[in-house]
């Protein structure tokens, strides 16, 4: 019988299975068990702010499930150092917004070792982090920021949109010998899909085709993939068939799947929750303009938030975030063009 798990549970199961399989896998971060220093406490006080690390501590012990002080630069750097010397650390940066206090260790250290040391170093670290808006968490707890990481050579970037992908991609990330940044959209933690109990991996650089269609290609990541699917349903009723592609990883990026689709549809809408400048939307658009120019029958359209920080107030945030209606509008405009 097909079993359903939420993305939270799928991520949790992936870590359980990999820790079981490989003793060098460790997990680190703030409050990932919680309650450190409280003598009478047994088990997880928190299991992470989202419960994604629940049960790991009781199962594998505090030697391998390591709570840290609020010192991101030090403990993310330590995870990187440990991963360069024989461990495989999965380290949690609670929200991607906190990257500001630890980025050097990620982009100048982890990302550079292998190249800079002439291929003599490996750094199999995984940095797990929460992204995205939708909770009125305001400007310092709602960003996506994955384009910043995607910009850096030496980092792999994984952005799952569902539980099934999250499990397979996280296991792949843990086994991969390079630094991987694993972005979890906080609006997707409760979303369920069927997830096999056994361990499995999904390869990086292989996009998922969420829906086939011959009229317009929509490329969308994480939560936006769901918005795109919603828009596609609406549009199908109007006679516009969309092909919805979820790249799943932005580094490496599956260019071929996107290009093949655009060669077929001739029309592209890219949806991205990150800021619009130097974004995945901009990156994918330029790639298609460069490599599939002759196939395009309409200008590429990007759907993204405005170039501002994320506002707090619910109606402002709703106006800020891309949604199915805005995606559908963009698709209609692209579909009309030249026909």
């Amino acid at each position: 019988m097909a079993r359903k798990l939420s993305m939270r549970q799928a991520i949790n199961e992936a870590m359980h299975q990999e820790m079981e399989r490989d003793e060098s896998v460790i997990v680190m971060g703030e409050d990932i068990m919680g309650g450190l220093g409280v003598d009478w406490l047994e088990g997880d006080a928190w299991g992470g702010t989202q419960g994604t690390t629940k049960g790991l501590g009781p199962r594998f012990g505090r030697d391998r499930v390591i709570d840290t002080p609020i010192s991101e630069s030090a403990f993310i750097g330590a995870a990187i150092g440990a991963s360069t010397t024989g461990m495989r650390a999965i380290v949690e940066l609670m929200y991607v917004d906190f990257l500001g206090v630890c980025f050097d260790q990620i982009f100048n250290q982890a990302a550079k070792f292998r190249y800079m040391f002439g291929g003599k170093a490996e750094c199999p670290v995984v940095v797990r982090t929460q992204i995205g808006g939708g909770f009125s968490a305001a400007a310092q707890h709602s960003q996506c920021l994955y384009p910043i990481f995607t910009h850096i050579p030496g980092l792999k970037c994984v952005i799952p949109s569902n539980a099934y992908d999250a499990k397979g991609l996280l296991i792949e990330a843990i086994r991969d010998n390079s630094p991987v940044i694993f972005f979890e959209h906080k609006k997707l933690y409760d979303a369920e899909t069927e997830v096999p109990e056994e361990s499995y991996t999904l390869p990086f650089g292989e996009a998922g085709i969420l829906r086939e269609g011959g009229d317009v290609t929509i490329v969308a990541l994480a939560r936006m993939a769901h918005m795109a699917m919603e828009a596609a349903e609406t549009l199908a009723a109007e006679g516009i068939e969309c092909e919805v592609i979820d790249p799943r990883t932005t580094s490496p990026m599956d260019e071929d799947t996107i290009l093949e689709s655009v060669e077929n549809t001739g029309r592209l809408v890219v949806v991205d929750e990150s800021y619009p400048r130097c974004s995945m939307g901009a990156d994918i658009s330029s790639m298609v303009a460069e490599k599939a120019f002759d196939s395009l029958k309409a200008p590429i359209r990007k759907v993204a938030p405005p170039h501002t920080p994320v506002p707090f107030s619910p109606p402002l945030e709703a106006a800020y975030l891309p949604d199915a209606a805005r995606i559908a509008d963009a698709v209609r405009a692209v579909a009309r063009h030249g026909s």
């Binding site: 406490l41 991101e72 305001a138 400007a139 405005p306 506002p311």
Partner: protein, 322 residues
Amino acid sequence: MQVSRDKLLEAYRSMKTIREFEERVAKEFATGDLPGFVHLYAGEEASAVGVCSHLVKSDQIISTHRGHGHCIAKGCEVGPMMLELFGRKGGLCGGKGGSMHVADLSQGMMGANAIVGGGPPLACGAAMTAKIKKTGGVAVTFTGDGGSNQGTTLESMNLASVMQLPVIFVFENNGFAESTAANWSVAGGDIVRRAEAFAMPGVQVDGTDFFAVHEAAGEAIDRARKGGGPSLIEVTLTRFYGHHQGDNQSYRTPDEVRNARESRCPLVNFRRRVTEASLLDAAELDAIDREILDQMDVATAAARAAPWPDAAEVLTDVYVTY
């Protein structure tokens, strides 16, 4: 240090306003109508008020994610604060910031801050401004026990010391950072011991005792104003609520929280001290209590009735729009 009658009344009013604001926010949050994350300051009032009662408007403070108390103590108005927490038009930040970013630069309140360790470097900068302009002003940065371990905090202490900046590092040690106990996360046990390493005066005071905080802050602020450089104050206190609203507090016993409300309440302590010493009488404190409760009713009703910000506000206040 002698505290005048007026100052005492003002301090009580400020602490009680913070308490009732937080109690009201807890209630409103539970209805589901108050968006985002909230971190309540109840139980910690004497720290914000003991420190800020020495400050004038042009002195600057920077707070944390647990910022409502510091805002009120530094003179932010309750009405616009409540509007901000509800995300409404007329909020102190126009509804763009919310609980974790309440700020009022006109009151010398440089903002609550949702990045742990975000404040101390900024306070050094505010102190530099005061020093360069020779205003005699000071900057205060409030940080938690958890935040005491952030690199930015430790770098700031060193910077402030070598540059002899008029900045006061107030560490509010409430025993926990989220669910992690300070007795584990803070190497060396007491945060105050770090003062010596950075060559600045440091004291540890009981945060349930307004007078102790007030005295320690008075000395540190006076020293800073006179060019004596930075100081550290560790204030030990207890938070009455969870880390944020919704925290199940599995790392504390129910008794711990209940007992704290009874034995570690800065307001109860203050009231007992001033009435026993006949400095103020209970009736006038009761009158203040009633006034504040009315004020909260008015602020909450106004916030609930207020319109939402216009959607066009999304695009204002940025340097560049596309």
